[in-house]
């Protein structure tokens, strides 16, 4: 390698020279992050109720039992419903917040922005307690709807941040042009802004969906007799014999979440 090439390389990496084997540290960290999950996945194929070594042989029994467990499947379906409702609400509200804050000057502008981000600084146990009291005192029975309402609040900061960072980069002149050509503002939003925001809207929805789908601390306070999957899992984890089936189900759902994350990430990075 010539001196000139070294110079180019040095500039490209911003003089970030260190003798620390950063790549190795990164690889070790990844191993640390993956090992426990991979281990659980391995145990979900192991023909033994106890999650311990030595492995007893390959089985698909646990996955078979997932399909024979109506309560488990109902909980998974509940989570899908809750996450869909919560993500749709959070994305719609996050879009409204973003457009209002970035395209208008009004008295409550900064307050709206602060409120939309504020759920991030409240521990879930506190918000869970507060919403639990609210629903109780107003006589709202706890149900999947109350969980979805709670999740719409905790997902809103994520949806808002994603949409704000997309809309801030769009030229308002495009909307002005549409209105000069005679479109009403709602039409302009629908026909001009929405298509431009497009994939980020889906990224916000998927991120909110994942936040809701995996959430247990808040849902545990707000779910009635009909649990979401994490709440069901939380309640069942004390029964050691149930563990392999629960893990098999969790591995199945996890695969779905990972695929959704990859899609959300791809949409966001390609679009910004």
């Amino acid at each position: 390698m010539t001196a000139g090439m070294r110079g180019v390389r040095r500039d490209a990496i911003g003089v970030g020279h260190t003798r620390l084997p950063l790549g190795l540290i990164y690889a070790a960290m990844l191993a640390f992050l993956y090992l426990p999950i991979v281990l659980l996945a391995v145990f979900s194929f192991n023909a033994n109720t106890s999650l311990s070594f030595p492995l007893r042989g390959f089985t698909l029994d646990w996955y078979g039992q997932v399909l024979d467990d109506p309560a488990l499947l109902a909980a998974a379906r509940n989570s899908l419903v809750v996450a869909t409702v919560a993500a749709t609400a959070a994305t719609a509200l996050g879009f409204a917040v973003s457009v209002a804050v970035l395209r208008f000057r009004f008295a409550g502008r900064r307050l709206l922005l602060a409120l939309a981000a504020a759920p991030l600084v409240v521990p879930f146990v506190v918000l869970g307690v507060a919403l639990f009291l609210l629903f109780n005192i107003f006589g709202v029975p706890r149900s999947l709807l109350t969980v979805a309402l709670g999740h719409s609040i905790v997902a809103l900061p994520y949806a808002s941040l994603i949409l704000l960072s997309r809309i801030v980069g769009l030229d308002p002149a495009l909307e002005d042009a549409a209105m000069d050509l005679g479109a009403s503002y709602p039409t302009t939003l629908r026909r001009v802004l929405l298509p431009l925001v497009g994939p980020s809207l889906l990224a916000a929805w998927l991120t909110s969906f994942i936040v809701s789908f995996d959430e247990v601390a808040l849902a545990n306070f707000l779910a009635g007799g009909d649990p979401t999957f994490p709440v069901f899992l939380y309640g069942q984890l004390r029964f050691a014999g149930r563990l392999p089936v629960l893990i098999a189900m969790a591995v199945l759902l996890m695969t779905g979440t990972i695929i959704l994350t990859l899609i959300a990430n791809r949409l966001r990075s390609r679009h910004q």
């Binding site: 003089v15 540290i25 990164y26 209002a100 600084v121 506190v126 009291l133 899992l233 979440t257």
Partner: protein, 286 residues
């Protein structure tokens, strides 16, 4: 035809209303209820009371306040260590990975997308008396009897939560490092600063907003944790969040539970207010 100005209320009113009804009102309600004297059924007529009985009870119970201090300490430790471990990952992604950064970033995000409960369970399975680490060591003959003390301790809670948070912790630091102007580093090098001094006097100060955002992103959910201490903490790893949850599930004392929750809320809001004065967090996450 609806003009631009007229549309504002259709955009601003729904999120305002949603946040006031489902976020501001419940928190205010919890504050109201924390000032009730009795635990009996709550109705609108008797909602307004101004008793400080619950707060007096909390102040008069040192073990609860100690628990809050312990939980805050554990959360601080988790936040600090998760940030410490996440920093080299973020540094690698921002300065070394170059065109492969997107792939390495996704590899990091996959564990983050894995079910939170499953990741906590993984550590319960790993650390348990008949768990994976012990049974593996016995199986290969390193030990004869299981090592105790792995599970059901403060350390188990801290390790599990650090594990849970590392991937998320790397993201704000990575974003901050990406924004570090490479010409600053070159200027420092031209002025004779060595790699070590460039790192400590240019890179680290410029990444501070991201580091602080990370500390809070980890600290806030951790200080209120009750799920992880319930699963892997045992009596040693009991946390303040679990105490709050207890007063709403088993003990059924809502005013006292509310007062405990209000204290936790005050602590976190005070910390965030202080942090916002030190560093502009909005710039760090945007």
């Amino acid at each position: 035809m609806l003009g631009r100005r007229g549309s504002l209320r259709f955009l601003a009113v729904p999120p305002f209303a949603w946040l006031i009804v489902l976020f501001v009102a419940p928190l205010l309600l919890a504050i109201l209820i924390s000032f009730r004297a009795e635990r009996g059924p709550i109705d609108f007529g008797s909602l307004l009371q101004a008793s400080t009985v619950q707060y007096e009870k909390i102040v008069g119970t040192p073990s609860w306040l100690r628990l809050l201090a312990t939980s805050a300490g554990m959360a601080l430790l988790v936040a600090a260590l998760a940030t410490l471990f996440a920093f080299p990952i973020a540094y690698f992604l921002a300065f070394r990975a170059r065109h492969r950064a997107p792939i390495f970033l996704i590899l990091l995000l996959v564990p983050a997308a894995t079910s939170f409960l499953l990741r906590v369970m993984a550590w319960k399975v790993l650390l348990g008396g008949s768990g994976a680490i012990n049974s593996f060591l016995i199986w290969i003959g390193v030990i004869q009897d299981p090592i105790g003390l792995l599970l059901y301790s403060q350390a188990a809670v801290v390790i599990t939560l650090i594990y849970v948070w590392i991937p998320f912790a790397a993201l704000p630091i990575y974003a901050a490092l990406q924004r570090v102007d490479r010409s600053h580093l070159e200027a420092a090098a031209d002025l004779g600063a060595g790699p070590w001094s460039r790192f400590w006097r240019v890179t680290v100060p410029l990444s501070l907003p991201g580091v602080l955002a990370t500390l809070f992103m980890v600290f806030i959910p951790t200080v209120g944790e009750y799920v992880t201490p319930f699963l892997v903490g045992g009596t040693d790893g009991f946390m303040y969040g679990l105490l709050i949850q207890d007063f709403f599930s088993r003990a059924g004392n809502w005013p006292l539970g509310s007062a405990l929750a209000v204290i936790m809320l005050l602590v976190t809001v005070a910390l965030v207010a202080v942090a916002l004065r030190v560093v502009d967090l909005r710039r760090a996450v945007a």
